[in-house]
Symmetry: none
Subunit: 250 residues, 2 copies
Amino acid sequence: MLTPERHRKIIERLGEKQVVTIQELVEATSSSESTIRRDLSQLQKEKKLKRVHGGASLLHQKSEELSIVEKSARNSLEKERIANFAAMIVNDGDCIYIDAGTTTHLMIPHLKDKAVTVVTNGISHLEALTEHQITTYLVGGLVKPKTKALVGSGALNSLSSYRFDKCFLGINGIHLEAGFTTPDPEEASVKRMALSLSQEAFILADHSKFNEASFSKVADLHEAVILTNEMDEDAAYDFEDKTEIRVVTP
Amino acid sequence: MLTPERHRKIIERLGEKQVVTIQELVEATSSSESTIRRDLSQLQKEKKLKRVHGGASLLHQKSEELSIVEKSARNSLEKERIANFAAMIVNDGDCIYIDAGTTTHLMIPHLKDKAVTVVTNGISHLEALTEHQITTYLVGGLVKPKTKALVGSGALNSLSSYRFDKCFLGINGIHLEAGFTTPDPEEASVKRMALSLSQEAFILADHSKFNEASFSKVADLHEAVILTNEMDEDAAYDFEDKTEIRVVTP
DNA sequence: TTGAATTTGAATGTTTTTGATTGAAAAATG
DNA sequence: CATTTTTCAATCAAAAACATTCAAATTCAA
């Protein structure tokens, strides 16, 4: 019996019974104890199982992983407030663009009862959007595996055939000289395009984003309205005549 | 026995059994051990299988956990066979289109070790694709909540900027006069467009699809190759000169 | 038909896998 | 706690599978 076939049988048995003895496997595969031992060692190295005295057992069942959305939103009531605030700006019948990202994701449940049409480049938003029966268009493009965002020329192309009443963008840095910035140039292009297609543009940003700048510029400060939830006096004064800032009132 | 015929037999056996021994193949093809070894080496280079000591195994040994989608289609071993067969047609470096749908979804794990670029309109495919580190482009368009497929003019537009070596489509009906048909006109348009952008087009269809017709025509029979796993004599005869049919198991 | 190119199968020596054996380590038993 | 039994890792020789080479057979093109 060939090695992969034995390995497959071992894993299979484990799947059914949670634990197997070496003796059992010796019979099932009609090979020697030594061979089975070697198999188990190898499979253990591949993280397919755990060896135990006399046999092998399943690895500790994978702990249910929270979605990125739930994870990051959990410790940030702040973001939830901003998202809710942003959703209130949306009118019945609006066609809006929602950027990929965690903060913008939180807007979705609040759009429930508005007859909006949403365009997005965030794949992670889809489940929530369809669940709330929101008419959704996805832009095309290259899938960025890490952030599940759509980027690249395909996305820009796709976007160019839409026009928005409003767009809602996440951002990494808001800086007096640098403007709105984000680390990935590909994502920046998409944001920039969405912004240029919108009548009104909104940036969702918690206080940590102010006076920060990262690699790629999305737009100048005056091109979008900032939605935030906290703002110290001095900072507000600096930004005052450069851009419009709307602060969530608690 | 000619080389391509041997190769076909080897792939075929693998599709059935996950793993084959060299001895087995020597008998089945009545050629020498050396020849079979050479065949296996070549097929391995083409990423059609993996050599193991004593024989060969499928690239994707399915000891790993099945996703929900894969699970739900599991009772249909038939579909799995067809999907595996389809995946073997894909060469290293190909740019392919994978249609939304459950049968086509099952192809994904088998593409694991080929350097393919995938374009798809199936949102449900994304997780599996990114998990297997496959470069993926999503077409844009309206999200069909039920099937999680992307359709509409956005999808057609998006698609039009790509060209494919091969495309793999699911279908609802294969009929002598009606050709390839599917219930939703929107999805039919997308399939048609993908087909027209491909050098070669493949339809994945189990036997239940033959001699059925539904509402929207995708293409004429001669425009694509049918991959199926079962074919009764009479039916095969009818279709013979209208289209090419490749059957998984004889 | 001839000659070159390819494919094939046998022969070679090498590498990998295998199962038995060993004494050490770990569990089970009294 | 000591003893017995089981399981373990390490070692080794035999067997199986391997890559490589080469000559014969086949295919292809001129």
